[in-house]
Symmetry: C2
């Protein structure tokens, strides 16, 4: 099989389908989403059988348990896929919205119209639910998509793709609007990210090294999420009760998520009160603490186990029950620390002081900046996007949680009545 | 001189200065802009002397007249630079604006805050006015900038840079917020576009080959303008008088601009009436016509000189008194032609039919799409942006005319009162 030729065929198909998708009605797109949901429900047995084939193969290859877990479908996850598609159908259509229409002295009216990006390439790991989810988001936003999931999920992805195709066609939309790459050859990824003539943007979802490699090699823009080294800063004027609740939740509500806090910064003036209190909570939950000299002294004096943090610790996304702690002189030092170590994902300040809260909000250069709230809120659903294709740590185009709008662009529209330029 | 080391020093300086710029007040930025304008006015003699040195060198090297022309400063262009900076000072500050703040069921309020991009690298040709203009736009949008102008303008750019530095410092802003690359070594460009740790976005301004090369080699996002192969489509239901006025203006008002129309598409049903009329106007103005078989027949029958258009002609941005002409069956064929040949810059439909106008608006995938208006309006000033750093033919981030807002990004902001995620 000539992979380049195969991928270019998918690309050409997608480009053609993208025109029809851009012009398609909201009703047709929503109908397709509901069709696909119904098909996924009615073909549950087929999906589970395909998944069983993938799982048998994966076990034979000795795939690690966490990956097996993500690969596994159940009646519950099949229903969740279907419900997710119906939920996307219920969201407002971002395409076609015209905003900011203004009359100009020349007589023309100028505004912006929201339009699909065109063709979106999505590269992800062996998680079959992403296939349905990504297909739904691309479809609703009027784009065509080429989906390249982890090879371990191939049979299951093909079964889901069959539902997607059938649902599209039944709604009068092009079958090739959503295509699943049906080869496990890694060269397919290399081809997908280097055909700007057919693909407008790549959204990689997966581990940091995969994303870094794709970004390095891509000749197409990439909307990416690298890591989430998030911070909570407990200010001099923090309400102690809010500070405890948030520092606890931001670290311990879930350990493996990108919006989990990895470093706690505490203003010197409140460290002696605050650190033992939060330290006891962390210790009770089995969270390992790694502190600066001052925080180690305070925690040790309170008989709470702590070890010395290294510079490396401050730069690490632990994704585990470990937290780095540092006592800072105040807001300036907190911002400087974040500036040096943060991955620019999400940071929160806990304070009752309005001016310092607003300075933190303005000066911290991260995709989400919060006042008196847990970093765990950095999420498309919590923000009200209704859906999320990922969280971008880029600055251009889409920043932070990316929903349907992040899969669109705006073009200028001009309404005239025969005006010419003089 | 170690160019990489030199450029990294500029980069590090810019990164540090960008923090102060992001936090600076509107008043300080506007004061700096007015200071620089005043300095440029008061140092007119110095600027002209520096420009004279550049011009002497350029003539010696046999630079072509068009480039000498763009390199030349006069009392009038110096005043225009100063006035341009004052005009930028008078624009609203995009930074800090919070929009879309919404209360969520969890209790948090979520919105977006407009923030500077950080450090902007601008690469341009030997046009000294761009130095002042780009410095002003980056300054107002709260960014730091590294400016790399054509080597032929080095002395003049240094003289302008001295005014910029003095104006920044007098307003209490960091001197290194705007730095001009003071080496003519081409390796400086290569270094500038490959230091993502110091530069957030590159804006190249210049010829297509320069921009294509920069895009190919950059490891930093690029906001770029490739070419402007723009179209006017005269629909079956066009008002003949508007069609003539617009097709004339869009082609002949200026030949060398990117928003000039290069191909005229005419619906078959009106071609016999319309083509001879516009053909006479073009012929009178010395515009060479290259037509499809049908348009050649119609024009020749009206005794208007015309030659056969090649496929290559339809793909060409002439930037000259030449126009390609094609008779199409109607709207669908017009859209298909644009889809195939357009550079996705600007296209206009001339029609009185509402449904076809709206279909064109929605389905044509270009950065500006117009109804009954001249493509020449695609311009930041005409659109009311107040200033323009360029016109983007990209789809992500900034599309079409890019003003101050295109040099900013939005981050999410969350206002809480102790909320945690459950």
């Amino acid at each position: 099989m000539d992979i380049t030729h195969y991928m270019q065929t998918l690309g050409r198909n997608a480009r053609i389908a993208s025109r029809a998708m851009a012009a398609s009605s909201t009703a047709a797109k929503d109908q397709a989403l509901r069709n696909i949901a119904a098909l996924i429900r009615s073909k549950e047995a087929d999906l589970l059988a395909a998944n069983a084939r993938d799982l048998a193969q994966a076990r034979e290859e000795g795939l690690e348990p966490a990956m097996i877990d993500r690969l596994t479908l159940s009646a519950k996850t099949v229903e969740a896929m279907a419900a997710g598609l119906e939920q996307i159908a219920s969201l407002p259509d971002p395409v076609g919205e015209i905003t900011g229409l203004k009359r100009r002295p020349s007589g023309i009216s100028v505004g912006k119209m929201r339009v699909p990006l065109g063709v979106i390439g999505i590269i992800y790991e062996a998680r079959p639910n992403v296939t349905a989810d990504a297909a739904g988001l691309c479809l609703k936003s009027g784009n065509a998509a080429i989906l390249r999931g982890g090879r371990e999920a191939l049979h299951c992805n093909q079964a889901i793709a069959a539902c997607v195709r059938e649902g599209l066609v039944a709604a009068g939309l092009p079958e090739q609007a959503i295509q699943v790459v049906e080869t496990t050859d890694r060269a397919a990824v290399g081809a997908l990210i280097t055909m700007p003539e057919f693909v407008d943007v790549i959204v990689p979802r997966g581990g940091k090294s995969l994303i870094a490699r794709i970004t390095e090699d891509a000749r197409v823009p990439v909307i990416k999420h690298l890591d989430g080294n998030c911070h909570v800063y407990v200010d001099d004027s923090a309400d102690p009760e809010k500070a405890l609740r948030i520092a606890d939740n931001a670290k311990t509500q879930r350990y493996g998520t990108c919006n989990t806090t990895e470093t706690l910064l505490v203003a010197q003036s409140v460290a002696r009160e605050f650190l033992p209190a939060i330290g006891r909570i962390y210790a009770d939950k089995g969270v390992e603490m790694r502190g600066c000299e001052k925080s180690c002294a305070i925690l040790a004096a309170a008989k709470i186990a702590v070890s010395a943090a290294t510079t490396e610790d401050y730069a690490t996304e632990f994704l585990a029950p470990i937290i780095a702690i540092r006592v800072v002189a105040g807001l300036d030092e907190a911002i400087a620390h974040i500036d040096e170590y943060s991955s620019r994902h999400t940071e929160a300040i806990i304070t009752e002081n309005h001016s310092r809260a607003m300075r933190f909000l303005r000066e911290v250069d991260s995709s989400s900046v919060m006042i008196n709230a847990s970093t765990r809120f950095a999420d498309g659903f919590e923000y009200g996007l209704g859906a999320e294709i990922g969280i971008s740590t880029d600055k251009l185009h889409a920043r932070g949680p990316v929903g349907l709008e992040g899969l669109t662009s705006e073009k200028w529209v001009v309404f005239g009545n025969g005006e010419v330029r003089s």
